[in-house]
């Protein structure tokens, strides 16, 4: 639902059904709402069967990459080795704040999903890695785990199944890069959060060099609903025209928009209806200038491109961007795109782990040049230099943080080049003065 706003009738609240309902936070409250039935079913089912149901549902990873969840789980074989599950709750992609609300309002949903995923990959131990800034989510999830152990849901004999499921919270300490799965594992091991070169892939040698699966918070929560209602039900929630994107997706909406919040819609939802009907359009008297549809790392769209898109993995890709983590960042016509793209790149420069030269140097120089243009001291040659640096930063590093910094530069220069040129040639910002703009239709 559109928390903190009332749910819109066009939403399909599954994961977000109890956002804002404080009664859903406790174990008793969660069980009253049907909680832990899925886990009971899962624990009585062979892991391969659990994997197959999730494969059939078409559920894909909600952290950004969109890898089929059931397929990822099926990489984990009963080989006698110690397996680990890491749940990625390091949500730090600018524009994304869905996992925060899942953990604040329905911590038992996450504990249940975590235990199901652990069972599905033959793991007895799961770590939920939560970013350090999420103090309330950490407290809520920690309390839910305590309650679950107390009730015998977790522990040596989880729900009387004879199977051991241990779930622990691990608190991060402030580093965007730890949301990258191999950096997360390094961080959990007590190291600097530097991404690892793949292969070996986590399913072969991950956390503590053991076979490991890393899943996003929303993914494991979605899995609980898949197991409860079945793969066909899950597929029925999304547009039948695209069987490759199934179920519902939580979209976090922020920036210059009338009703920011978290909205859950079936995959394939029309983005124009989403932006205007659900989110209320831009603030009164303004127009949208740009939309980033999937968290700060995906290409910037013009409002026309965004409004023509359907919200699923393929639909947003067809519009020239990516679904990513579902963080929708809105910019209105009072924003100077040069300034905001420079600010976004400063984020990546700050968060670079610095082990790859292209990223360490590329993010830093990108910011220096963009801020020079922003301050009216740029040259036209700077625009070529920016694109050259962006090319050197794309597809050439251990992880994609570097690519993510290049993305707004390339898409920004393609779609808002006139703003950069105006800054360079006249030191003018191409922004609308709000009091003179007319309400958009």
């Amino acid at each position: 639902m559109g928390y903190p706003h009332p749910s819109h009738p066009d939403e399909t609240p599954v994961i977000s059904k109890y956002f804002g309902d404080a009664g859903a936070r406790s174990l008793v409250g969660w069980q009253e709402r049907g909680g832990y039935e899925s886990l009971r079913t899962a624990l009585a089912t062979d892991p391969v069967e659990v994997q197959n149901v999730v494969k059939d549902s078409g559920l894909r990873g909600r952290g950004g990459a969109g890898f089929p969840t059931g397929v990822k789980w099926s990489f984990m074989k009963p080989d006698g080795k110690t397996h680990y599950l890491c749940v990625n709750a390091d949500e730090s992609e600018p524009g994304t704040f869905k996992d925060r609300e899942i953990m604040r309002w329905t911590p038992h949903q996450l504990v249940e999903g975590t235990a199901i995923a652990a069972h599905a990959i033959y793991a007895e131990t799961a770590y939920i890695y939560i970013r350090g800034e999420y103090t309330e989510p950490i407290a809520r999830v920690t309390e839910a785990i305590r309650e679950a152990y107390g009730a015998g849901i977790l522990g040596a004999n989880a729900m009387g199944s004879g199977k051991r499921v241990d779930v622990h919270v691990h608190k991060g300490a402030g580093a965007y890069i730890c949301g990258e799965e191999t950096a997360l594992m390094n961080s959990l091991e007590g190291r600097r959060g530097n991404p690892r070169i793949k292969p070996p892939f986590p399913a072969v040698a991950g956390l503590f060099a053991q076979p490991t699966t890393i899943n996003n918070v929303e993914t494991v929560c979605a899995a609980t609903h898949v197991l409860k209602h079945g793969a066909d039900w899950y597929k029925s929630l999304s547009s039948p025209s695209n069987p490759r994107s199934t179920g519902t997706k939580l979209f976090s909406v922020c920036g210059n928009v009338a009703r920011p919040g978290n909205y859950e819609v079936g995959m394939g939802f029309a983005m124009k209806d989403f932006l205007w009907d659900l989110c209320g359009g831009p603030p009164a008297g303004r127009r949208f200038k740009a939309i980033i549809p999937g968290g700060s790392s995906v290409p910037i769209l013009t409002p026309e491109e965004a409004e023509a898109a359907v919200m699923d993995y393929e639909g947003i890709q067809a519009a020239g961007s990516l679904l990513g983590s579902g963080g929708v960042i809105c910019f209105d016509d009072t924003q100077c795109m040069v300034r905001q793209i420079a600010r976004l790149c400063r984020f990546y420069a700050h968060e670079s782990c610095a082990q790859c030269t292209q990223c360490r140097e590329g993010t830093a120089w990108t910011v220096k040049i963009l801020e020079r243009i922003r301050d009216g001291e740029g040259t036209m040659k700077d625009l070529d230099t920016l694109l050259e640096i962006a090319d050197n930063m794309t597809g050439k590093t251990i992880c994609v943080l570097s690519d993510s910094c290049a993305t707004p530069v390339v898409s920004g220069l393609k779609k808002f080049r006139h703003e950069f040129e105006a800054k360079i040639q006249k030191n003018r910002s191409s922004v609308m003065i709000p009091s003179f703009s007319t309400a958009a239709a």
């Binding site: 800034e133 103090t135 241990d166 007590g190 920036g255 984020f347």
Partner: protein
Amino acid sequence: MSLHAIAPHGHDAHEAYVPVFTGARRAELDELLTRYPTRMAALLPALWMLQEDRGWVSPDGIEEVAQVLELTPAYIRGVVTFYTMYHQHPVGKHFVQVCTTTPCNVCGAEDVVTAFLKETKCGELGVTSPDGRFTIVEVECLGACGFATPVMINAALVECVSVDSVKDLVAGLD
């Protein structure tokens, strides 16, 4: 700059170091160690405990953590400096982090920073106020973008802070 040189009033870095990992804290750490197959994995949690008890991650504290977890101080310093949330020097009683990343930036977060600097008399980012009560920093994305501008004050997150609400917010802190 030496770490000691910027210790504000009330944080004399030359005071005798009192170990953190004794009694209940030691028991807490020992319980944590049962959750992981390596001692190193307890490093981030141990540093959190140190910071909670002492207010910052001091060189003496790093020495203690190194002994307890059988790591070297140099290794730990490398980890500490990687993460932004560990204070490498003492900070004000109220450590204020204002998110200014793009989604909040377009909603006016930089004006919120300016208001905090003025209201707390810190004047400058990262500098503790003369009375030792406040340190203001800009922080990258706090993951609460729909509630611009989110501000963390120690372990509490305040949603939807605006220029107009800063004065009351600061006045409400002891």
